[in-house]
C-alpha cells in the first residue's frame, strides 16, 4: 500500500529549516488591497482528513497538508486514484473532529506513543470495510453515544491531542497566501446525544487559538461548548460556531428547550445568537432547508432531501429539523423574548471524509466522499453509508460563498460573522441582495448597482430597520460553466396571530415568464439523458429585480431570504450510470435543479 504523507523512520528533512509562517502571514494580510464593493470568494467550511478518526478508519490517510493542496487545484492520490477539482478554491477550513484527535496522533505518526498498541494497529490495518466498521462501532460510535471512558486504550492523554492540533495548525499556516488563498483555523465539535446530531464547526479568526480544542468528551451539551467559547473570547480569542445537519437533529437543533430541558430564555438566546451567526444549509448528507412533506406548496422543496436518513438511528424527519422552520421559530422567539436565538446566515459544505475540500462537481464525483464506503460506482449504486443513509441519497456537497473585501482570513471571517454569505448546492453562481428604500429599476453598471445597494440598504445577513415596506434589490449571475438561471425567489417568513407562516415569492424569471398574478410559466429545458449535457440555450445568464413586499406589516417580525434556481443539470448518479454502466434504482434522481441560498435579512419589531 502506498502511503504518501505518512511518518517515516529516517529523518530526511531533519536539517531543513522552517520559516515562521505565522508572522509572515500577519504582515502580508494588511498589504492585500481591499475592494469596498466586495468580491464573492468560494470555499469549503467543512472537511475531514485522516486526522478525524472515523475518516482514518474508512481508509483516509490524507493530511490537512494534502487537503490544502487539493483545494488549490493540485492532483492528489485519493483512495488509490489521482483526483482533482476543476476549479481551485479561494478559501478552506479543515474541520477535523476534536474527539479522538489524540488517538489520531498515535495512529498516524510512526513512533508516537500508542502507535504500536494492538487496537491502533487494528485500526490502521483494517483489511476491509466490514472490519473497519466493526472497529468504528466499538471505538467511535459507542463512546459517542455516551457512557464509559470514550478513549480507546492506546490514547496517550492531552499531550497527544495538543500535538495533533498543533500539526493541523502548522499545515493551516503553511498554506495561507493572503490575497490568493485563505486557510482558517477550525475544527469540529461532534456531539450526538441520543442520536440527535448537535455537531458544530468552530472557527477562529486568526492565529490566536487555544492549545487544545474543546471536544464532546469534555462536554456534550452545546451550552458547554458556548461556555468554553466564552472563556476563549474572554481570553482575547475570536471564535464562532456553525451547526450542521439539522436534518439529523431529531428536532433538537431548533428546540423549545435546552438539551437539559430548561425552556429557552433570554440568556440562552443571547448566548446562542452571539456564538452562532451561521448554519450549514446543505452538505453531503442532505439539504436541510425544507422537505416537501412539511412544505407542500414549495414546488422546489424536493431537492437532495436525503430521506433515507430516517431509516437509521430513529432520525425520522420532523418539521422542527429544517432551517426554514428554525428561522421562523427564531422570529417567534424574538417576539416573545426580544432576542432571536436562531438568527442564522447560510453556508454550505461537504463534510467529506476523504480530505477533499469542495469536491462538489456532479460530473467529477468518481472517488466519492467517505473512503471505502462509496469509493466506486459499483459500491455507490448498491450500498449504505453505514449507520447513516443510502449512498444513492447522498450528494457531492455544497459550497460557501463569502462577500468579503479581500481574500484574507480576517476579511472572510469578519464577513462570515456578519452573515454576508450565501450557500450554493455546488455551482458558482453569484447572488447579491440589499434591503432598503429608493433603489433604481435599472443601473448603468454593476458597480453602480452595488454602490447604491450599500448606500441605501443593508446586505444579506443584515436587519432592515425602515418603517415602510422594504424594497429588495436582488441580482444573480450564472456559474459560467453551468446552465443559465431559471428564476430568483424570495422566501418570507413571519409571525402573526400566534402562528409562524412562510411564503415563496417568485421575484424575477428568465425570458419574462413571470406573470402578473405572480406565477411563473415553467421552463422546458430537460437535460440530455444520453450525455448528461444541460440545455445551453434557455434561461438567462443574469437576473435582476427590485421587489417590494406586498403584504408588509411594520408590526410583524419577519425574515426574508433569496433563493436562486438554475436550469436542470445531470445528477452524479446519471454520470455513474453513463460512465461505469451501473444501474441505480428507478426512484433515484438523475436530474436536479441546483441553487443558491442567500443569508436572510430580518425585520425585527423593537
Amino acid at each position: 500500500m502506498i502511503r504518501p504523507g505518512c511518518a517515516h523512520i529516517l529523518g530526511i528533512g531533519l536539517l531543513a529549516a522552517m520559516p515562521a509562517p505565522a508572522a509572515m502571514a500577519q504582515t502580508a494580510e494588511s498589504d492585500v488591497p481591499k475592494n469596498p464593493l466586495k468580491e464573492a470568494y468560494f470555499g469549503e467550511q467543512h472537511v475531514h482528513t485522516g486526522v478525524s478518526m472515523d475518516a482514518f478508519i474508512a481508509g483516509n490517510r490524507l493530511t490537512p497538508d494534502d487537503a490544502y493542496r487539493f483545494a488549490q487545484g493540485e492532483e492528489i492520490m485519493v483512495n488509490g486514484s489521482m483526483h482533482k477539482i476543476k476549479r481551485p478554491l479561494d478559501f478552506v477550513a479543515v474541520t477535523d473532529h476534536s474527539e479522538f484527535m489524540g488517538e489520531a496522533y498515535s495512529l498516524m505518526n510512526e513512533g508516537a506513543p500508542g502507535y504500536d498498541d494492538e487496537v491502533a494497529v487494528a485500526f490502521r490495518e483494517a483489511p476491509d470495510l466490514k472490519t473497519a466498521l466493526g472497529l468504528y462501532a466499538e471505538y467511535v460510535l459507542t463512546p459517542l453515544a455516551g457512557g464509559g471512558d470514550p478513549h480507546p486504550e492506546f490514547f496517550q492523554g492531552e499531550e497527544a491531542i495538543k500535538s495533533t492540533w498543533k500539526k493541523n495548525f502548522e499545515a493551516t499556516e503553511k498554506h495561507y497566501k493572503p490575497g490568493k488563498f485563505t486557510t482558517i483555523h477550525a475544527y469540529e465539535w461532534t456531539s450526538a446525544p441520543g442520536g440527535s446530531n448537535q455537531h458544530r464547526n468552530v472557527f477562529f479568526r486568526d492565529t490566536n487559538v487555544p492549545d487544545m480544542p474543546f471536544s464532546s468528551n469534555e462536554g456534550a451539551d452545546p451550552e458547554m461548548l458556548w461556555a468554553w467559547m466564552q472563556a476563549q473570547r474572554d481570553d482575547g480569542k475570536k471564535v464562532f460556531a456553525i451547526p450542521h445537519n439539522s436534518n439529523e437533529s431529531k428536532g433538537l437543533l431548533f428546540a423549545e428547550a435546552s438539551l437539559t430541558g430548561v425552556p429557552i430564555g433570554k440568556d440562552y438566546a443571547e448566548t446562542r445568537a452571539s456564538m452562532e451567526p451561521l448554519i450549514e444549509m446543505m452538505q453531503i448528507k442532505g439539504n436541510s432547508e425544507v422537505v416537501p412533506n412539511f412544505w407542500p406548496r414549495d414546488e422546489f422543496a424536493d431537492f437532495e432531501n436525503a430521506t433515507t436518513i430516517q431509516q437509521f438511528n430513529g432520525r425520522g424527519f420532523v418539521k422542527e429539523n429544517f432551517v426554514r422552520y428554525g428561522l421562523g421559530r427564531g422570529v417567534k422567539y424574538h417576539a416573545d423574548l426580544g432576542v432571536n436565538p436562531f438568527k442564522y446566515g447560510f453556508v454550505g459544505g461537504t463534510d467529506s471524509h476523504n480530505g477533499t475540500p469542495s469536491n462538489v462537481e456532479e460530473d467529477n464525483y468518481s472517488v466519492g466522499s467517505h473512503g471505502l464506503a462509496d469509493r466506486t460506482a459499483e459500491v455507490r449504486a448498491t450500498s449504505n453509508l453505514e449507520g447513516e443513509m443510502l449512498v444513492a441519497d447522498m450528494n457531492p456537497g455544497a459550497l460557501t460563498a463569502v462577500w468579503a473585501e479581500s481574500n484574507t482570513r480576517g476579511a472572510i471571517w469578519d464577513s462570515m460573522m456578519a452573515k454576508e454569505t450565501f450557500a450554493t448546492s455546488g455551482p458558482r453562481m453569484k447572488v447579491r441582495v440589499f434591503a432598503g428604500q429608493g433603489f433604481a429599476d435599472k443601473y448603468d453598471s454593476y458597480e453602480a448597482m452595488v454602490t447604491d445597494g450599500y448606500a441605501k440598504g443593508v446586505p444579506m445577513g443584515g436587519d432592515y430597520t425602515g418603517s415602510e415596506a422594504p424594497q429588495f434589490l436582488v441580482w444573480a449571475m450564472k456559474d459560467p460553466i453551468g446552465p443559465n438561471l431559471d428564476r430568483i425567489q424570495i422566501i418570507k417568513g413571519w409571525y402573526a396571530d400566534g402562528e409562524m407562516k412562510d411564503r415563496v415569492y417568485d421575484v424575477v424569471a428568465s425570458g419574462d415568464r413571470l406573470q402578473a398574478d405572480g406565477k411563473v410559466t415553467p421552463i422546458d429545458a430537460p437535460i440530455n439523458l444520453e450525455t448528461g449535457a444541460f440545455n445551453a440555450e434557455k434561461g438567462d445568464p443574469e437576473l435582476m429585480a427590485v421587489w417590494t413586499d406586498p403584504e408588509w406589516d411594520a408590526a410583524q417580525e419577519a425574515f426574508y431570504y433569496v433563493r436562486v434556481l438554475q436550469l436542470p443539470t445531470a445528477r452524479w448518479t446519471l454520470y455513474d450510470e453513463l460512465r461505469a454502466g451501473v444501474k441505480y434504482p428507478d426512484n433515484v434522481k438523475r436530474e436536479i435543479v441546483e441553487r443558491a441560498w442567500a443569508s436572510p435579512i430580518w425585520h425585527e419589531v423593537n
Partner: protein, 289 residues
Amino acid sequence: MLRQIAREPLFHFLVLGGLIFVAWSWLAPPEPAGSGDEVIVIDQSRLDHLQTMWKAQWKRDPAPEDVAAIIDRHLQQEVFYREALQMGLDRDDEIIRTRLAQKMEAVASDLSSLMQPATEEKLRAFHAARPDLFTLPQAFAFRQVLYLPSEAGDARIKTTLATLRSGGAVPADRRSKLSLPLDWPLTSGQDLNNAFGGGFAKALAKLPVGSWSGPVRSGLGLHLVQVTEIQPERLAPFDEIRDEVARQYEYYTVLDAQQRVFKELLGKYRVRFDAQGVPDAVIQEYARP
C-alpha cells in the same frame, strides 16, 4: 510532512536512539544468545524515553516507586521479547507480519528518498521528465465587452465594434457587465474556460492580435474582444518554479518509492503458483519461467 515530523521531539529521540543503537552494535556486538550473560543495558537515553512515555500517559513526573515499576515492566517486556524471538514466536503471527511489512514500506520510502535526495540535478531531471506537471498552458491577455444572449440582435453590438475599432471608449453600461472585468491580464485557457464557459479560449486563439473583433460566443453571452497577447503553451522555466518542482518531486518520489522498491525486491524471489483459480493476468505478471 517529513519536515514536520523532523521537528517532533519524539522523532529526534528515535533518530538519536537509532544512531546510538548502530554505534553500540558496532562497538559492542551482543554475546551469542543463551550464554547466560547476555546484556540488557538501561542507559540514560533509554530511561529518559521510558519516563517520557510514562509522563505522557499519567501527566506527572514519576515518583521513585514509579521509576521502579517502569524499569521492572521494561525488563519483563525485554526479556520476554528476546526469548519469544529465540523461540520463533514472531513467525506466522499476522500482526507481526503486517507490522514488519509496514515498517519495510516506510523504510522503502525513506531509502528511496535517501537514494534520490532532491538535488539540483534530480530536480532538473524531474522537471524535464514531467512536462505534464510543469507545462504552462496557452494564455491570453485581452479586453472584452459583453452583450447578453438576449441582446444578440442588438444593433449596438455593431456600432460599438466600429467605435472601439476607431479608438473610441467602451460604453459606460458595458464596463462591468455581469460583474466581469473589461481587462484580462495573461490568463490560462483553462482559467478562461472556467470564467467564461467552455470553448472560450479556443475561440480567442483564432482572433487577430491587436485589433477589436467579434462577437465571440461564451457561456455568458457575446463578446467583442481585443486580444493583446497570446502566450503559447510552454514549459515553465525551471528557475521560476524551483520550489514547485521540489514539492512535486517529494510527493511523487514517495508515491513511486514503495512500488519501485517492491519490484526490485521481488526480483530476488521466484513466485510459483501451485494453486488453482489464479487469474492468468496475475500469473503472467508475477510468475517467471
